[in-house]
């Protein structure tokens, strides 16, 4: 597949189109926030194009947009998050091979599950506790895996 040279621009345009469609179809009350936030993201994309840590600035600039659309409709916020992830991955050159696109699709699927979980909850506390528990479990598993890995390669007795 011959990919376009600036994939991040494609994701940005898709994001803008999504916001436009959502604004027209759902008529959210906070519609006036979207254009300036989108422009802010565009400016950050333009200004930081030669910076080393631009991923961080892009994510920072994109989060207000994600929050603004999530406040109106959770699924719309999720779509913006997907597009933002696409922009970041394209910026890093991590959307080149078919395997990269599969990983991106897996990320979208997993965040869909997370969004569904959050959507089903009434309050923040319970999903936050679950998330904290899962994160702790992830860190614990990683720590044990790291220990076993180091033990194997640093010449310690098995």
């Amino acid at each position: 597949m011959n990919l376009p040279l600036r994939l991040d621009h494609g994701f940005f345009l898709l994001m803008a189109a999504g916001i436009l469609i959502f604004t027209v179809v759902a008529s959210p009350s906070s519609w006036y926030l979207y254009p300036p936030l989108l422009v802010l993201l565009g400016i950050v994309l333009r200004v930081t194009r030669a910076w080393n840590d631009r991923v961080f600035y892009i994510l920072c600039a994109g989060q207000p947009l994600v929050i603004a659309l999530s406040a109106a409709q959770g699924w719309a916020g999720l779509f913006i998050m997907w597009m933002l992830a696409g922009i970041v991955l394209a910026t890093l050159g991590m959307l080149v091979s078919g395997r990269d696109w599969q990983s991106y699709a897996a990320f979208c699927g997993a965040t869909l599950v997370i969004a569904a979980g959050i959507d089903a909850s009434n309050h923040v506390l319970l999903p936050l506790v679950i998330m904290g528990g899962l994160t702790s479990l992830f860190v614990a598993v990683q720590t044990i895996r790291e220990y076993q890995f180091r033990k194997r390669y640093t010449g310690a007795n098995p």
Partner: protein, 443 residues
């Protein structure tokens, strides 16, 4: 695994969003924070997997020039490194050397630069360096240290399991505790070589071999290593010093008083040498011209008549004027290269660059002078470990630098003797520039 600046920033953003979500009870902020947290965890997992695959693919093959050396010797180590480097990851691999090995030169590590999106490629590098063992016993390179990083994470591991450990280097002890100065008696000097006559200084210690004199066993070291070690004593030689006389140019003004002193000093040394060592060797030069060589002369009368015949200002057919050696030019080029790296100003850079080119051109055109070749031919068959150079030090001293350099290359200690008036202005700096072991004024 450590977080780099970008990942630290994102982590901070996640914490901020989740705290805000809890305070404001906002599901929208929670969605933003949780998806970002998941993305960070996915990136960490991806980095970890790539790091593991890379470590699993790493292969090292280390070879030593010699596996058994004496303490203080230099050994060349060559390590072949092959690794599958994932995309977007910068990898640094370095040798983990034990503290008993000191790196003399070369690079003990290599860096694989991050490559843009591409399937992992197997890359190979060869690392060559020289080490000197400073302690004895068996030692080996304990493996390699691998550090990998991408934009978000960094991880490092010391690989010291069996496939990464090097071959064992057995270092035999050497008597470093012996005094560095030579023991000199009236007629003999201790040398760092084996000879029929042995001195008192311990030159080296080595393992016992069948047939070695049992009296030479070093019991203390034997008890320490549970292995028989014997001492090797330094040899003793009785060699007269070589006398080199640099005669002044006839047309150059010089102090007659200083010249007379020099003649007296040369005659005195020649007489002493014949009396103590039974013979004397004298080399007469004038600038870069070899005039006369009198080798192993036993007859004092004949020696004095030769000195009487030659000891006067002479005509020089060849002159040196600030004649640099090839090694001098190479040193100048190295200095200029370092200056060029330090220079920030474009005009300075241009200046140093053009100067460097000039030196390089001179180096290419430079040939070994006939004087140097003659010196090598004269000094090579000579049995001497010490020489005295007498000179008035008037005018250019390039030929003396050439002379001293060749003598030093043949492990001959050089003592320069000069007039008191010239010697008063010459300090240790001048001595080091000449390369002489000692610099004194003749009486």
């Amino acid at each position: 695994m450590r977080l780099r600046r970008c990942a630290q920033g994102i982590s901070l953003l996640v914490i901020l969003l989740l705290v805000l979500a809890l305070i404001l009870d906002s599901m929208a902020i929670l969605l933003a924070g949780s998806t970002l947290l998941f993305a960070l965890a996915a990136l960490a997992l991806s980095f970890d997997n790539r790091f593991r695959q890379m470590v699993a693919s790493l292969m090292t093959n280390r070879t030593l020039e010699r596996t058994m050396v004496r303490k203080g010797a230099t050994v060349r180590v060559t390590t072949q490194i092959a690794v599958q480097v994932p995309a977007h990851m910068e990898v640094k691999i370095a040798e983990n050397l034990p503290s008993g090995l000191v790196v003399q030169d070369g690079e003990t590590g290599t860096v694989f630069e991050a490559v843009p999106a591409a399937p992992p490629q197997r890359q190979e590098r060869k690392v060559t360096y020289r080490v000197t063992p400073v302690v004895h016993g068996s030692m080996h390179v304990s493996g390699v240290s691998l550090t990998a990083r991408d934009l978000f994470f960094e991880n490092s591991i010391d690989l010291s399991s069996e496939p990464f450990r090097g071959p064992v280097l057995f270092v035999q002890p050497r008597g470093l505790f012996e005094p560095s100065s030579q023991r000199v008696t009236a007629e003999t000097r201790e040398i760092e070589k084996m000879s029929v006559l042995s001195g008192f200084g311990i030159r080296a210690l080595r393992e016992y071999y069948t047939g070695d004199d049992l009296r030479r066993i070093d019991w203390k070291l034997t008890a320490k290593h549970d292995k028989l070690f014997v001492r090797e004593y330094s040899g003793v030689m009785s060699l007269p010093p070589l006398i080199i006389v640099d005669l002044p140019w006839r047309r150059a003004p010089h102090s007659a008083q200083d010249f007379d002193r020099m003649v007296a000093a040369v005659a005195g040394m020649a007489e002493y040498s014949v009396k103590m060592f039974q013979y004397v060797s004298v080399l007469l030069i004038s600038g870069p011209n070899i005039l006369q060589y009198m080798g192993e002369e036993k007859d004092l009368q004949r020696c004095m008549s030769v000195l009487r015949e030659w000891m006067h200002p002479v005509e020089r057919t060849v002159h040196f004027y600030r004649m640099p050696d090839r090694s001098d030019l190479r040193r100048q080029i190295r200095t200029l290269e370092s200056r060029l790296e330090e220079a920030r100003d474009p005009s300075s850079q241009k200046f140093f660059d053009s100067l460097k080119k000039q030196y390089l051109r001179s180096l290419q055109a430079q040939q070994i002078p006939a004087f140097t070749a003659q010196l090598i031919r004269t000094l090579s068959p000579l049995m001497a470990d010490e020489c005295y150079v007498f000179s008035l030090f008037f005018g250019d001293a390039s030929h003396l630098r050439q002379l001293i350099r060749q003598a030093k290359a043949m492990k001959i200690r050089v003592h320069v003797r000069m007039p008191g008036t010239a010697g008063s202005s010459a300090g240790p700096e001048y001595q080091s520039r000449l390369g002489a072991d000692t610099l004194e004024a003749f009486a």
